[in-house]
């Protein structure tokens, strides 16, 4: 049935778009894991924190207003100004760099050479901490994020596909923008890591900590750098998702969407994150489209994991990994 095929194609297109966003979040994980061996569970909360900060700055909210009011009995809420989106994004970027320095200074520096699981746990502690601080700073109600991103159906595509196939595809304009931004981000990150001095240092550290140290690369600088980049990636991800749902606690759960991508693509592979994201996005949408109605729907959450799991059982080295030769 051609109609079914068209629908499947539409689901697939949307899956690809969703996949790009998953890839973006996964990218944040990969960067940090590559450079510091940390499985950063706080990535999702970083997205929430970044988006909260962005909205807070744009609306001129007073940080910790609720706390200050409760302690001093004052009634302050807003500075009364509105910061343009571009400037606010820049300022949020600065805050995320500050956060990276804070994390390096107070957490990572003290946990050098600890086992992976300890570092992983530390980031979970960090996630709690940042969630609490974010709430204290900006309040826990839902905030509307409007940085001027377009939303809604893209009529051009709708019309074009209608003329071609007799069925108009639905593509969200936000998704298109997100795809472009994500693609740009990935490209610039690749260029950065390939051609800049810091990028080379980054790759050196990813390859071998000890060797990198011995040729005079500052590990601390690299850590601050990757956490800053990851913070910025989180900001972009937070913006994309926040534009749709408003900025709220649930943003932090997008980390869960990135984990199957990591399994599929590998914790250390940037191309893996991208291709993995696309596979997961398309896979879960197609499954929900085809099998979902038969089993009652709402399958996307677990299907992504099961897909990655099955894939790994048959190919333990992941998407782009070399075949593992075990040695003793």
């Amino acid at each position: 049935m051609p109609e079914q095929l068209l629908w499947a194609a539409e689901a697939m297109m949307n899956g690809l778009m969703a996949g790009v966003l998953y890839a973006l979040v996964a990218l944040g994980f990969v960067l940090i894991f590559k450079a510091s061996g940390v499985f950063n569970y706080a990535q999702g909360v970083m997205a929430l924190f970044a988006a909260l900060t962005l909205v807070g700055i744009m609306d001129g909210q007073v940080p910790f207003a609720h706390l200050i009011n409760a302690v001093f009995g004052t009634e302050i809420h807003h500075f009364g100004w509105h910061v343009p989106a571009i400037l606010a994004i820049f300022l949020t970027g600065v805050v995320m760099v500050g956060l990276a320095i804070f994390i390096e200074r107070f957490v990572l520096r003290h946990l050098v050479n600890q086992p992976d699981i300890i570092l992983f746990m530390a980031t979970i502690g960090l996630a709690y901490f940042m969630e609490g601080v974010g709430d204290l700073m900006w309040g826990s109600e839902i905030k509307t994020l409007d940085v001027g991103l377009p939303q809604g159906i893209s009529e051009t595509i709708d019309e074009a596909t209608y003329n071609w196939f007799g069925y108009g595809f639905f593509i969200d304009r936000l998704d298109i923008v997100a795809t472009i931004i994500a693609a740009l981000l990935v490209a610039s990150l690749t260029i950065f890591s390939q051609y800049s001095k810091q990028g080379r240092a980054l790759r050196a550290v990813a390859d071998d900590h000890q060797a990198a140290l011995s040729v005079g690369i500052s590990l601390r600088f690299i850590w601050v750098l990757v956490w800053s980049i990851a913070g910025f990636v989180a900001l972009v991800a937070g913006m994309m998702w926040g534009a749709k749902s408003g900025v709220q606690f649930s943003l932090s759960l997008i980390a869960l969407k990135a984990l199957p991508v990591l399994m599929l693509g590998g914790f250390t592979s940037i191309p893996g994150a991208i291709v993995g994201g696309l596979i997961i996005g398309v896979g879960e949408k197609l499954f929900e489209f085809s099998i979902g109605p038969l089993v009652g729907g709402a399958t996307e959450n677990w299907f992504a994991y099961v897909l990655a799991l099955v894939f790994l059982v048959f190919r333990p080295q992941g998407l782009f990994g070399e075949k593992i030769i075990e040695r003793v």
């Binding site: 746990m121 502690g125 709690y128 709402a298």
Partner: protein, 358 residues
Amino acid sequence: MLYREAGDFKTTYVEDGQTFPIKFDRIAYYILLAVAFGVVPFIINDYWANAVLVPFLIYAVAAIGLNILVGYAGQVSLGTGGFMAVGAYACYKLMTSFPEVSILIHVVLAGVITAAVGVLFGLPSLRIKGFYLAVATLAAQFFLVWLFNKVPWFYNYSASGQISAPERTVFGIEVTGANTDAWAKYLVCLIFVTACAWLARNLTRGTTGRTWMAIRDMDIAAEIIGVNPLKAKLTAFAVSSFFVGIAGALFFAVYLGSVEVGEVFGINKSFLVLFMIIIGGLGSIFGSFAGAAFMVLMPVLLKNILVGGLGWPTDIAAHFELVIVGGLIVVFLILEPHGLAQLWRVAKEKLRLWPFPH
């Protein structure tokens, strides 16, 4: 010099292998058991039982279970919530299908069923390792929760999708349902905790424990010296899930009385139990208790201090609670990555020498 081991010689291998080789520890342990069984049930009230002790004991069972898998066998799992749900739903189905059978048997059977499910989801561990396995167990977490939510048979087709524990008695004393006395709840959980801790201790100090630890420390070498990795990993999943299933069954039947799977056994539960064993100490039964105590008591204590004691608004207190718990976790990991159990060990070593440190 109260706490010492000098002069406390072991003349047989049996004595050398016992759980508390130091006499002082042994006495302290028996006193603790005596107080837990003989004193606490008489002074416990609803608040202490429902808000502190019962959840602590149940989480301790779950933590022991997860510690076997993560701490002893080295297989990181984030599916604890899902496995607890299996225990809870198995217990519910058993309770409603065979009302004449004792609830205690149902709880144990729920553990057995969970063990079977655990083995099933443990199979990928033969091919997948480390964080990849951890993420893979999330598949179990999400799938199981989805399943129990989706298939009405599991909740007896009730309109609400909630499962509620009917009233059941042991020796004529109610242990589930609304009219259960605080002490009865407490005692049931205490019995299970004691039994589970004893079983776990026996398994981990003997052949099975060494098999698990060998797999954890170096799986390839373990296989070459004769450990069947399939058997070792799957038994770890089975035993771990058995305990986790018991914890889930108790959580549902004795502690909460009614649950909805997504809310109670969601992914947060998995992380919470993982927290417990890491804060408490991986590969330590004592650590499982310490971690459970820490994670159950800490929020209650903070809440009572901040809201009850200092009179802060509840939301600010709740936010601070997150900040403090998160901060404490990080501080703990920095100060003592091997958890409370290691802290305790170090303290004991200091005590041995005290007051003559040289």
